[in-house]
Every structure is written in structure tokens, then in C-alpha cells.
């Protein structure tokens, strides 16, 4: 019985160890343009959840800065741009709501996780470092495993 339990655990471990994944790291502005003094993790989780929340996240953390370029702008913001938060209004991006349709993943679609970190300088200028992790769903990574991989930058 003990041997069966150990074998089962080993199999489970080997499955997760075999999960194929790739990571993609990007910055919204070059990191070299920011003399970083502060780093804040804005989001860690499923990529599909992030795309739904990106507007509120941006509104909460990013709007007060941006060098005044976005200050005081108001406009009729199409739904798409609305996801970027009120301060993104007036950027001149007009895209119809129809393009909001998220990709319709099949039952076997890959898992996608994302980690978003705000890196800012003393003046409030910032860049968003985003690490996208795409993993084969069969086998798959847990959220905790995905977070560890993304944090390590692997």
C-alpha cells in the first residue's frame, strides 16, 4: 500500500515536471528609461482574468502619474478602451466593442498566466513588466507553480 502511494505521488510529480511551458517577458516602456525605486506587483493569475480587469488595475495604480499627459481627459470611450481605465480616455483609440470578444479557447487550450509588475521611479514615471506564461494544459501547472516560475523570470 505504501509503495502504491509513493508510486502515485511520483507519477503526479513527474506529470507536473513534464508540463511544457514558455515565458514571455515584456516592458511597456524600456526599463532603461526608469531609475527604479519602487516595484509593485499589480496582478498575478490567469491571463483571461487579467484582460478583464486591466482597466481597473490601471485606474487604481497608474493614473495619477504618467506625467500629466492623461490628466483631465474625458471622452466617450468605447468599451474596449474603457478596459484601460478612465485615464486612458482621450488617447484617441476608438475600437468597437466587437473586438472585445476574448479568444474562444477549446477544451484543450493552453493555460496562460500573467504577472504584472509596476516599476517606477521617484517622479512616478513607470513601466509595466509583464511576464506571460503559456503552459500545455495536459499536464498543467498550478497557479502556485506558475507564480514561482514567473517570479523567477524563467
Amino acid at each position: 500500500m505504501k509503495q502504491m502511494i509513493i508510486a502515485g505521488a511520483m507519477l503526479a510529480l513527474s506529470c507536473s515536471a513534464m508540463a511544457e511551458y514558455e515565458t514571455f517577458v515584456s516592458y511597456t516602456k524600456p526599463l532603461s528609461s526608469i531609475k527604479a525605486v519602487k516595484k509593485t506587483v499589480l496582478f498575478e493569475g490567469e491571463y483571461s482574468d487579467y484582460t478583464k480587469q486591466v482597466g481597473e488595475i490601471n485606474k487604481k495604480y497608474a493614473m495619477s502619474a504618467a506625467g500629466g499627459a492623461l490628466a483631465g481627459v474625458t471622452s466617450q470611450v468605447p468599451t474596449m478602451v474603457g478596459n484601460l481605465g478612465g485615464a486612458a480616455a482621450g488617447l484617441g483609440i476608438g475600437v468597437a466593442a466587437g473586438l472585445l470578444e476574448p479568444a474562444i479557447w477549446s477544451a484543450l487550450a493552453d493555460q496562460q498566466f500573467i504577472r504584472v509588475e509596476k516599476i517606477e521611479d521617484a517622479k512616478g514615471n513607470f513601466t509595466l513588466k509583464r511576464t506571460l506564461l503559456v503552459c500545455d494544459k495536459n499536464p498543467s501547472l498550478s497557479l502556485e507553480q506558475a507564480k514561482q516560475i514567473m517570479e523567477a523570470g524563467k
Binding site: 514571455f24 490601471n58 478596459n83 483609440i93 476608438g94 468597437a96 473586438l99 474562444i104 477549446s106 487550450a109
Partner: protein, 182 residues
């Protein structure tokens, strides 16, 4: 009688063509040539974005599309996408902008798609060609990057400096795709 038939056929044909054009946007740039000597048209859509459409082709021969997963598909995708991005970049530059965003449903920078450099993009777009268990792109949804018939369409929008400087959105640099000064 023959003239009447010919006239009717012309009217019907023109209607069909115009109807088809309306469905795919209005051609605003009939001929953009890339450094690989490929020629593309750029269509503008009522929602404000543009598309570059291409049939995947090598040396002038149209390929059967990317409906299969294979390393060869990955290589073909790189060649076609490189050319498409260059066409989008050249059009963006012609419009007086230095950056653009992608708005394909699978790669929408405006809703948080983080990638905005070609090497990472092609790596992402060819995941399922390089790893047989992956299924990243659902190829047959409407407005997909790769249509059911194997056409590849890049949906993009030029954006001004405010968007780039905001730090909120990943934007693509025109200068990454245009090496000459044209």
C-alpha cells in the same frame, strides 16, 4: 438582349464585389511593398482599425495555409508575419506615427496582450507548431489572425506618443521593421 444580359451581369457582379469590400473594410492603401518584394493592401474598418491581409506565399506561390502544426509551418509563419508587420509599419509611418498596436482578438495590446517585439511574438504564435501538445490559437474564430481559408490578417492601429508614453500599453515600434529610410 445580349447587352441587357451583360448589363445585368455587370450590375450583379459589381454589387457582389462592393458587398464583399464592405465586409472587409475599405482599401485605403492599395499597394504597400515590403523589403521582401511582397505587395499588400491595407483596409480600414469602420471601427477604426486597419488590416493587412495576405495569403501565405513563398516565392510568389500561395501556400496551403497554416492549418497544420509543424516546424515548417513555424518557418512559413515567420516569413509571412515578418512581411505583414513590415507592411503595417510602413503604413503607420506613412500616416505620420512611430508606433502601432495590434488588435487581433488573440493579440490585442489594448486589452493587455503584453508582447510588442517580433521575436517574442513569433515564438508565441508558433507555440503549437513547435510543441505538439499546445493549442494556443484557435484558428477558426472570426477575425482570427489566421482565417479558415489560411489567410493571415494583421489587425492594427497606429497610436500617438501619448499612448506610448503612458506606460499602460505595449506598443510596436515602426523602426523595428523598417531598416531603410523609405
Amino acid at each position: 438582349m445580349n447587352r441587357k444580359i451583360l448589363l445585368m451581369a455587370t450590375i450583379v457582379g459589381a454589387s457582389l464585389i462592393m458587398g464583399g469590400c464592405a465586409a472587409v473594410g475599405t482599401i485605403v492603401e492599395p499597394d504597400i511593398q515590403t523589403s521582401s518584394k511582397a505587395h499588400y493592401s491595407i483596409a480600414k474598418h469602420s471601427e477604426g482599425y486597419y488590416t493587412v491581409v495576405a495569403r501565405p506565399a513563398v516565392n510568389g506561390r500561395v501556400l496551403s495555409g497554416f492549418s497544420y502544426q509543424s516546424p515548417k509551418a513555424a518557418k512559413r509563419k515567420r516569413m509571412v508575419f515578418e512581411s505583414l508587420f513590415e507592411a503595417a509599419a510602413r503604413f503607420t509611418k506613412k500616416q505620420g506615427y512611430t508606433h502601432f498596436v495590434l488588435v487581433n482578438p488573440e493579440f490585442n495590446n489594448l486589452t493587455g496582450f503584453p508582447i510588442s517585439d517580433f521575436e517574442n511574438f513569433i515564438r508565441y504564435a508558433t507555440l503549437e507548431d513547435r510543441h505538439k501538445n499546445f493549442d494556443t490559437i484557435s484558428p477558426y474564430q472570426q477575425n482570427s489572425l489566421i482565417s479558415r481559408h489560411g489567410d493571415v490578417q494583421l489587425m492594427f492601429m497606429p497610436v500617438d506618443k501619448k499612448v506610448v508614453d503612458s506606460g499602460l500599453v505595449s506598443t510596436w515600434k515602426v523602426s523595428d521593421f523598417i531598416k531603410d529610410n523609405k
